[in-house]
Structure formats: structure tokens, C-alpha cells
Amino acid sequence: MTTSAPNPDRLSPALRTEALEQLLTERGLVDPAVMDKFISTYENDVGPLNGATVVAKAWTDPEYRQRLLDEGTAAIKELGFSGPQGEHIVVLENTAAVHNVVVCTLCSCYPWPVLGLPPSWYKDPAYRSRMVREPRTVLAEMGLELGDDVDVAVWDSSSEVRYLVLPERPAGTEDSSESDLAALVTRDAMVGVAKVGS
């Protein structure tokens, strides 16, 4: 089959999308109401706050942390987060010695139930190719300088597995509540391109 790659043709992607939606709706394959609900869910409801909730729970509950590291998908589901792109989530724990960072070299695989849809930089060809070749350089460009004593582990999501980074709990947060901790956790820290600040 010779389906064309996207190219700047006179038919804009907006027009092609509208055409496709009409054809699929006419055939009874897409219910616009169902589709609108999916869109709304991923625009408004599912996002990094879910992952932050998971991380904060892991920081404050050692047994939960262990379950999360052993069986990511199941432990995440305990908190009510599951769905497409969340069937096989592996949680990677950052430590003083190892920093984990996630990429999808071939497309944009990403753990939707805990992080929502990926940001544009995650889908960018430069990030996808360079993070594997020169992770320290890319991380530094994104504002994260890692010492030579820290190993960088790059995880490619191009398989069934989706990864969530469990960042290090920042110093000085011993007295913080779970919800205060969750507020500190950023999307970038859970992809592994940043640390969590206190």
C-alpha cells in the first residue's frame, strides 16, 4: 500500500479530518457524542495530577511504594487510574545513583492514565532521537544538570510497556502532607527530564 506521508497539499488536515469524521459517522462507526466525551476527558480530566497523586502516595507509604515498583499497573489502579495506554505501566525509581528518563524513539508512547497526553517536545523528532544518543546533553539543555556520579538510564517506550518515573522526594519535605507533596510533582519530573524541587 502506498498511503502518502503527510504533505502540504491543498487539502488541509482540518478538511481531511472533517471528511474522515463524516465518512466514519455516516457508516455508524463513530458516535460523535462518544467521541466528544473522549476528547473532553483527555483535554480536561486526565493529566499529570494523576501521576503526582501516585508519586506522593509512594513517598509517604512505603508499602504502596513497593507495590508500585513491583506491579505498576495494579498499584496505579488502586488509586483509580487506568485506561488506554496504561495497560502495562512500569515505574522507574530515581535514586542518588541512577536517574531514569523516558522517551519513545519511534512515535509517542506515553502513560496516558497518569500523565495525560504527551507534550509537544516529547513527540519532537529531536527529543526522540537525541535523548537516546546524548541524554546528558539533552537533559542539560532542558535545565537538568546531572553529576558524573549519577548514571543515566534511558527507557524507550516503543513496546507495550509505558514508563512512569518515580522522582526523588525533595529534601526538607519530611513534614509535608500527601496533597502538599503531590502539588510539587511535575509532569517533567515524571518523564525524567527534571527533578522535583521543594
Binding site: T3, Q22, K123
Partner: protein
């Protein structure tokens, strides 16, 4: 988007760090189409992903000079190739319909649609 949302307070949508999930309305539509079709079992996600990987690779190997990468253009091309490959939609059907839509007079009111667009 014209939705009025609390973008900074505690009720802010947890979508990401200030970046809109979709840059243009058609991106949300084409995302929704793929998710909806997958949800009703029209294809496996692996199958869709294979097409998406192929369309991204094609763009990376050969694209017009100066053209910026558009993830959702690749997503659209992937979805088109999936539904053409399984016979749901004819090879030229999307282009034919899009051409017809392009011929609408300016200011059209989405005749034929009975659902709300988000634009």
C-alpha cells in the same frame, strides 16, 4: 479553544504545564476519531501504532524543506491508512470528501453536522 477554565487555581485542569493539549481543533477531532474507533474494537492499538510509526518515519525521511514536524498530521495520515487498509474507507474517499468540503461557500455553517464542534 474558548472554554472558560480555571487555568491556575486548584481546580485547574491537570492537563500539563500550561501547554494546550491540542493546538488546533482538528487535532482534537482526529485524536478522538482514533480513540473512539479503537474503543469499539475497530483496530488494536498496536496496529494503529504501527501505522503511526510508519507515517512519522516517512515524514522524517522525506519532508518539504522548512516544514515543521506536525505530530497530528502524522496521526491523521496513520488513521487514514488504517481505515483504508482494512477497507472501511476507499482509497480516494477522504480526499474526495475533503475536496467537496473545500468547495463550500465561505461562512458555511457546517451543514450536515448535528453535533457541536469545539471551534
Amino acid at each position: 479553544m474558548t472554554l472558560l477554565l480555571d487555568v491556575e487555581g486548584p481546580a485547574a485542569p491537570p492537563r500539563d504545564n500550561g501547554e494546550l493539549v491540542f493546538a488546533e481543533p482538528w487535532e482534537s477531532r482526529v485524536f478522538g476519531l482514533a480513540v473512539t474507533l479503537h474503543d469499539r474494537g475497530a483496530f488494536s492499538w498496536d496496529e494503529f501504532r504501527d501505522h503511526l510509526v510508519a507515517r512519522i518515519a516517512e515524514w522524517e525521511q522525506a519532508h518539504p524543506p522548512g516544514e515543521c514536524f506536525s505530530y497530528y498530521r502524522c496521526w491523521l495520515a496513520a488513521l487514514e491508512s488504517v481505515v483504508v487498509a482494512d477497507g472501511t474507507v476507499g482509497v480516494t474517499e477522504v480526499a474526495d470528501r475533503a475536496t467537496a468540503l473545500a468547495a463550500r461557500p465561505a461562512g458555511h455553517d457546517h451543514a450536515g453536522h448535528d453535533h457541536d464542534h469545539s471551534h
